[in-house]
């Protein structure tokens, strides 16, 4: 897997805004950023209202994904360039989600919205409409999605990578430090998990670190390259960022994202939990 096949630079993006067969998609939890200015021509996907089932805790199903992409004007043969705020957390999550439903021609804009803004590149408030398509999705590729039982079985058996901040890992905080700490479930981490915060995979401007730096980072933290890996965070978006680094950039073959993450694991009855660094 080469970096060019999964990432595009802001420079490339600006030069290809009107390229045929290329669709830019901004993915955020809070779409107000998009509404105040977006990459010209980009459509938006709302992480919460459009990718999550409104009732059950799960994703929209295959038919729902087909309906969503059709309405957004994204065709099966389009190359989708994803970007967003929060250092591309939600864009990386959407990337993983697109892969889950079998859309192979998808790339991340390296650095996301932050890099684009820090570079002073153009933003537009023009409404974007694309002609509706008839999109066909595949069944979920469960080779990249981990569920809770598999995570419990991975203790002492697979690499578990907890990508939350050290204070969340140790149990001092239950959520990232820009959010009120009101959660009630147990704090801590899954026994045997390595703590490699997602942020170590990114530069200050939101771009990914080099392949050499990334390999050194995970090996230095104790990742066993001969074993399968499951990444998790709190709700599965920061761990999508790390899944991208491990699976798409470094090319490790068996890497799954546990989207249930700590909000599920930390509420399970009877599972082991560790606290402390």
């Amino acid at each position: 897997m080469s970096r060019e096949s999964v990432l595009v630079s802001a420079q490339w993006a600006e030069e290809n805004l009107e390229a045929p067969g290329v669709v830019f998609v901004e993915v955020d939890e809070d779409t107000s950023a998009y509404d105040t200015g977006h990459i010209p021509g980009a459509v938006k996907i709302d992480w919460k209202t459009e990718l999550q089932d409104p009732v059950r805790r799960d994703f929209v199903d295959r038919a729902g994904f087909e309906k969503l992409l059709s309405a957004k004007g994204i065709a099966n043969e389009d190359t989708v360039i994803l970007y967003g705020g929060n250092n591309n957390w939600f864009a990386a999550y959407a990337y993983w989600y697109f892969k889950l439903y079998g859309h192979d021609a998808v790339k991340l804009l390296d650095g996301g919205r932050k890099k684009w803004e820090l570079d002073g590149r153009p933003l537009s408030t023009d409404a974007v409409t694309r002609e509706e398509t008839t999109y066909t999705a595949q069944e979920q590729d469960l080779a990249i999605r981990a569920f809770r039982d598999e995570v419990v079985e991975a203790i002492n058996a697979k690499n578990l990578v907890d990508v939350r901040s050290p204070d969340e890992f140790s149990g001092k905080l239950l959520a990232p430090a820009h959010l009120p700490q009101e959660q009630a479930q147990r704090a801590g981490h899954i026994p045997t998990a390595l703590n490699v915060p997602w942020s170590k995979a990114a530069n200050e401007d939101g771009t990914f670190r080099s392949d050499d730096e990334l390999r050194e980072l995970y090996k230095g933290a104790g990742l066993d390259e001969g074993k399968a890996t499951i990444a998790y965070c709190r709700i599965g978006e920061r761990s999508s960022h790390t899944w991208f680094a491990l699976h798409e950039l470094l090319g490790y073959s068996d890497v799954k994202n546990y989207d249930g993450s700590w909000t599920e694991y930390g509420s399970l009855v009877g599972v082991p939990v560790e606290t402390g660094a």
Binding site: D28, W47, W89, A175, A177, H178, L179, P197, E204
Partner: protein, 102 residues
């Protein structure tokens, strides 16, 4: 329970649900000279320099973090320049952190 990781609205009054007897709030304004800088990427770094959180400053330059007692660095990135400031939060409550970029 908040299941969102996106940044809440920056600036303005603290939400009524926030108990400043328990929460350690670090907040302030990003300035260039006397002018507020909106749209700056404000990063919270812990005492070892490790990234902890990031928000985007409001149109009035305001930012806010929910942290824990300790020593912190706040670093702001903007296309017009960067800046940083240190703050020590001895305990819960609201701690002000002014920061200048340029």
């Amino acid at each position: 329970m908040t299941d969102s990781c996106a940044a809440p609205e920056q600036g303005g009054a603290l939400p009524a649900s926030v108990d400043t007897e328990k929460e350690t709030v670090l907040q302030g304004r990003v300035l260039a000279g006397d002018a507020p800088v909106g749209g700056a990427y404000v990063r919270l770094l812990d005492s070892t320099g490790e990234f902890t959180a990031e928000v985007v400053s409001s149109a009035d330059g305001d930012f806010r973090f929910f942290a824990a007692p300790g020593d912190w660095t706040v670093r702001a990135l903007h296309r017009t320049g960067n800046g940083e400031a240190s703050v020590t939060a001895p305990g819960p409550g609201v701690h002000q952190v002014p920061i200048t970029v340029g």
